[in-house]
C-alpha cells in the first residue's frame, strides 16, 4: 500500500471505531450530578456570554490587568514573608489525589518517600495502636473525608491507599501495604485530640516507655479504645463543617521526628478547645453519592473472633466493620423469581447517637442463589447510593474504608466493581442526620448495576429508601436491621471509633442478648453474643 492509501485506510478504521448507546440509567446518574446551585456558581457577572470577537478584543487588556494584579500580589506575598500559596495548594491537591489528609499541626512537612522502611514503622505504630495519641486526626484519606488543609502532610499511607481498591476481599492483614491501610483506619478511629482530657494524654504518654513502642500490645489498645468514648462527651451531632476540624495531627511517623512530634497533639489550651468534628460525616450538600464494593469478605470477623476467644483485644486497625456486619446473613427474602438481585432497604434509630435526628439506614443487596447451570450470578456489580440532600444534612458510610470506591479517586474505575457470591447478601449501613422538620419522602436510593453473565448486557435496579421505611424505635425495626446495627456498633466499639460513645459496648451486650433470645438459636447470633461478652471481659481486665 502506498502512503496515501495507507493513510486512507487508517482514517477509515478510525472512523469505524464502534460506539454504542449509553447504558440505561446513565442519563439518570448524570442528572443527579447537576448541582442544584448551578446558577449561583456561575455568578452574576457572567450574565451575558460575550460574543467571541469581543472576548478576543478585550483579552490583552484583561491579561495585562491580571498580570499586574498577580504580580503585585506575588510581590506582596514575597515581602510579607509568607509561604507561597501555590505550593501549599499543590500539596493539598497531591494529598487529595492520594486521599491522604493531615493537618496543619504537621507543619507541612512531608515524610520522605522511603516507602519500605516507612511502612514498617507505620505497621509497628499501628500495632501499638492508639497508645500515644499521635495517630489522631491523621484522617488517612478515606473517600468522604474533607480535603486536607493546605500544607498538610502525612504522605505515608500513599502506597497502601493506592493498593486499597485492588485488593481482594478478605485477607485479614499481614502484607505491608495492607497494614498501612489499616493504620489509616486506626487513625480515623482515634478521637479528635483536643477533647481528650489533658491528664489522660499525659498518662498515656508517660506510662509505656518509648522503647516499647514497636510492640503491639493489645492491652494498651484497649486503653485507647476506651479513651475514645471520653472524647464523645462533647456533643457530636454538631453539623459543623468538617473543614473546620481541629488542626493538630501528624503523619504517623511524626513521633520519630523529634521536637516536631512533641507538639502533637498539642494539649488543649484552656478555652481553646475546638469542636470535635468527625471527618467521616459528609455534608450532603457537598457530596451526595456514595459507592461501596460488593466483594466484601469476612476475614476480619474470623480474626476478631480468634483474638477475643484467646482473651486478646483485637487491634483497632484489624476491625473492619463491613466484614463484621457482613458475616451475618441478614435473612432477608430471596430476590423474586427471575430477578438476579434483591435489594432491601430499611432503617431505625442510630446506636451511636441518642438523638432522633440521627438514623441508621440499611441497604442489603442479595444475589439470587444460583442453580447449578448458572454458576456466576453476576460477574460484576456496582452499588451506588445517592443521599437526598433535602432530607439528609450529613451522612457517613459505616466501614468500607478501603473499599469505598466512589468519590474522588475510584469513582469511575471499573475495577471498583465487586462480585457478589450467589445467595449472599451485602449490607451497607449509613448513619444520617436528618433535616428538620423530619423529612417524609425519599431519604436515599440505591442504584445497582450489573452485567448479566449470560447476555453480557447491563442491567439496573433501583431501590428507594423512604422515611416510612425507617422504624421510629429499636423494637419496631426489622430483625435484620437490628442484627446489622448491633454488629456495626460492636465493631465501632472494638475499633475505638469516635462514635463509640461511653457505654456502647454494654448497650451492645444488652441488645445482642435480646437478639439471641429472639433468634431461635441461630448459632451465629449466639456467637456474637458470646464475643461481645468476651470483649467486655477483655476490656475490664485492662488497667484503667
Amino acid at each position: 500500500m502506498n502512503g496515501p492509501n495507507r493513510r486512507r485506510d487508517i482514517v477509515r478504521r478510525l472512523r469505524d471505531t464502534p460506539a454504542g448507546e449509553p447504558p440505561a440509567g446513565l442519563l439518570g446518574r448524570l442528572r443527579a450530578d447537576v448541582p442544584p446551585d448551578l446558577a449561583e456558581r456561575l455568578g452574576a457577572e457572567r450574565d451575558e456570554p460575550a460574543p467571541p470577537a469581543r472576548t478576543l478584543r478585550w483579552m490583552p487588556a484583561a491579561a495585562a490587568l491580571v498580570m499586574l494584579l498577580g504580580g503585585g500580589f506575588l510581590v506582596w506575598r514575597v515581602f510579607d514573608g509568607m509561604p507561597p500559596v501555590e505550593r501549599a495548594r499543590d500539596e493539598g491537591a497531591v494529598l487529595r489525589e492520594i486521599g491522604t489528609a493531615g493537618d496543619e499541626g504537621a507543619g507541612g512537612e512531608i515524610v520522605p518517600a522511603d516507602v519500605e522502611s516507612g511502612s514498617e514503622a507505620v505497621v509497628l505504630e499501628g500495632g501499638a495502636g492508639v497508645e500515644t495519641p499521635r495517630l489522631e486526626g491523621t484522617a488517612a484519606g478515606r473517600p468522604g473525608s474533607p480535603p486536607p488543609e493546605p500544607g498538610s502532610a502525612a504522605l505515608l499511607p500513599l502506597e497502601g491507599e493506592r493498593k486499597a481498591p485492588a485488593r481482594t476481599a478478605s485477607q485479614p492483614q499481614v502484607d505491608t501495604a495492607e497494614a498501612k491501610i489499616r493504620v489509616g483506619a486506626a487513625a480515623e478511629a482515634a478521637p479528635p485530640p483536643p477533647v481528650v482530657p489533658e491528664a489522660e494524654i499525659r498518662a498515656e504518654r508517660a506510662e509505656p516507655p518509648p522503647t516499647v513502642e514497636g510492640e503491639a500490645s493489645p492491652r494498651r489498645m484497649v486503653v485507647a479504645a476506651q479513651a475514645a468514648p471520653e472524647a464523645k462527651r462533647v456533643p457530636s451531632g454538631d453539623p459543623t463543617p468538617a473543614r473546620s476540624r481541629p488542626s493538630a495531627a501528624a503523619s504517623p511517623r511524626a513521633q520519630d521526628q523529634g521536637p516536631a512530634a512533641g507538639r502533637l497533639p498539642s494539649p488543649p489550651a484552656a478555652g481553646l478547645v475546638p469542636e470535635p468534628v468527625d471527618p467521616r460525616f459528609v455534608e450532603t450538600a457537598s457530596d451526595r453519592l456514595s459507592t461501596f464494593g460488593l466483594d466484601v469478605g469476612t476475614g476480619s470477623y474470623a480474626l476478631v473472633r480468634g483474638l477475643l476467644e484467646r482473651g486478646q483485644a483485637p487491634p483497632p486497625a484489624a476491625v473492619r466493620l463491613e466484614e463484621i456486619v457482613n458475616h451475618f446473613d441478614p435473612g432477608d427474602p430471596e430476590p423474586p423469581p427471575g430477578e438476579t438481585f434483591g435489594v432491601v432497604a430499611d432503617g431505625g434509630p442510630s446506636p451511636f447517637h441518642d438523638d432522633p435526628r440521627y438514623r441508621l439506614l440499611r441497604f442489603a443487596v442479595r444475589a439470587r442463589r444460583a442453580r447449578p447451570a448458572e454458576r456466576a450470578v453476576a460477574e460484576k456489580a456496582w452499588a451506588q447510593v445517592e443521599i437526598e440532600p433535602r432530607a439528609v444534612l450529613r451522612w457517613r458510610l459505616l466501614g468500607y474504608e478501603n473499599r469505598a470506591i466512589a468519590d474522588e479517586r475510584f469513582q469511575f474505575e471499573s475495577e471498583g466493581a465487586g462480585a457478589i457470591g450467589p445467595g449472599r447478601s451485602v449490607t451497607a449501613l449509613y448513619e444520617v442526620e436528618l433535616a428538620e422538620p423530619a423529612p417524609r419522602g425519599t431519604l436515599a436510593r440505591l442504584e445497582l448495576r450489573w452485567r448479566d453473565p449470560t447476555t453480557g448486557r447491563f442491567r439496573e435496579t433501583e431501590r428507594r429508601l423512604h422515611a416510612a421505611d425507617v422504624a421510629p424505635t429499636w423494637e419496631a425495626a426489622s430483625p435484620a436491621f437490628r442484627l446489622a446495627a448491633t454488629a456495626a456498633a460492636f465493631a465501632e466499639a472494638l475499633r475505638g471509633s469516635p462514635w463509640a460513645r461511653p457505654g456502647l459496648l454494654a448497650e451492645v451486650a444488652r441488645r445482642v442478648e435480646r437478639l439471641e433470645a429472639e433468634s431461635d438459636g441461630r448459632p451465629e447470633v449466639g456467637e456474637l453474643a458470646r464475643l461481645v461478652r468476651r470483649a467486655e471481659e477483655v476490656r475490664s481486665d485492662d488497667p484503667p
Binding site: 495507507r6 478510525l14 460506539a19 454504542g20 448524570l30 446558577a39 457572567r46 467571541p52 472576548t55 474505575e413
Partner: protein, 233 residues
C-alpha cells in the same frame, strides 16, 4: 421555556442517531444557537430560586440530554469499548463541566469544550495504573450497542469468532497507537474521528487554521500507519 423545548427537540435528534452513527446529528444543525440560549438561561436563571426545579437546573438537564450520547460515544472509543468505564468517565466529565461552566468562554462551541473535558478526563484516567490492561474478553460485549430489541437482532450477522477477535485486536492496536501519538496529534485525531468534531471547530478551539489541522491529521495518520506496520512485523 421555548428554548428548552427546542433543545429537547435537538436531543430527540440525538436519540435517533444513537443507534446508528454517532453525533452527526446534534452538531450539524443550528445547535450553536441552542447552546448560546442554554448558556444564557444557565447564567441568568435561578438566581432567586435554587434546587432541582430551578430554571438553571432544567437548562442544564436539557444540555445533558442533547450532548451526553456524543460524550459517551467519544469516551467509549477512547476506552476501547469498555462500556462501564465510558459511562463512569462520562459522569466525571459532566461533573467537571458543571464546575467549569463559569469559565466557558464561548470561543469554541460547547460541544468542543465538552469534548476537551472528556478527553482530559480520559487522559487523567489513563495516567492511573492499570488502564492499558487489555480489555477482558467479556468486555467485548460492551462494544456492541445495546438495543431495545435485544441482542438477537444481530445474531445472524455476527462475524465468526476468530474474525471478531482479530477485528477487536486490530482496533485495540489502533487505539494504543493513537494514544501513543504526541499530544498535539493525539488530540487532533481523537477530536476529529472519535469526537466527530469538524475541522473548523478544532481549529477554532486550538487557535490555528483549518489547514494546520489537516496537516496535523495527515501527519498523525502517517505515523499511525507506520506504527501499525511496525506492530505487525
Amino acid at each position: 421555556m421555548v428554548t428548552l423545548q427546542r433543545i429537547e427537540g435537538a436531543s430527540g435528534g440525538g436519540a435517533a442517531v444513537a443507534t446508528g452513527s454517532f453525533g452527526t446529528g446534534s452538531l450539524g444543525r443550528g445547535s450553536l444557537d441552542d447552546e448560546r440560549r442554554l448558556l444564557a438561561v444557565l447564567r441568568r436563571g435561578g438566581r432567586a430560586e435554587r434546587g432541582a426545579g430551578s430554571e438553571a437546573v432544567r437548562a442544564a438537564e436539557a444540555l445533558l440530554e442533547s450532548t451526553y450520547r456524543r460524550t459517551y460515544a467519544t469516551l467509549l472509543r477512547l476506552c476501547g469499548g469498555d462500556a462501564d468505564l465510558a459511562a463512569d468517565l462520562t459522569q466525571e466529565t459532566y461533573r467537571k463541566a458543571w464546575s467549569a461552566l463559569a469559565g466557558f468562554d464561548g470561543r469554541a462551541r460547547l460541544s468542543t469544550w465538552l469534548f476537551r473535558i472528556a478527553y482530559t478526563t480520559f487522559l487523567n484516567h489513563a495516567r492511573r495504573p492499570r488502564l492499558f490492561v487489555p480489555a477482558a474478553a467479556g468486555d467485548e460485549a460492551g462494544d456492541e450497542p445495546e438495543r431495545p430489541d435485544g441482542a438477537s437482532a444481530f445474531a445472524g450477522r455476527h462475524p465468526a469468532p476468530d474474525e471478531a477477535l482479530a477485528a477487536s485486536q486490530d482496533r485495540e492496536r489502533l487505539r494504543r497507537a493513537v494514544l501513543g501519538l504526541p499530544e498535539e496529534l493525539r488530540y487532533t485525531v481523537t477530536a476529529r474521528f472519535w469526537g466527530e468534531l469538524p475541522v473548523r471547530e478544532i481549529a477554532r478551539h486550538e487557535g490555528i487554521t483549518g489547514a494546520a489541522v489537516r496537516k496535523r491529521l495527515r501527519k498523525a495518520t502517517s505515523l499511525l500507519a507506520a506504527q501499525l506496520e511496525e506492530d505487525l512485523r
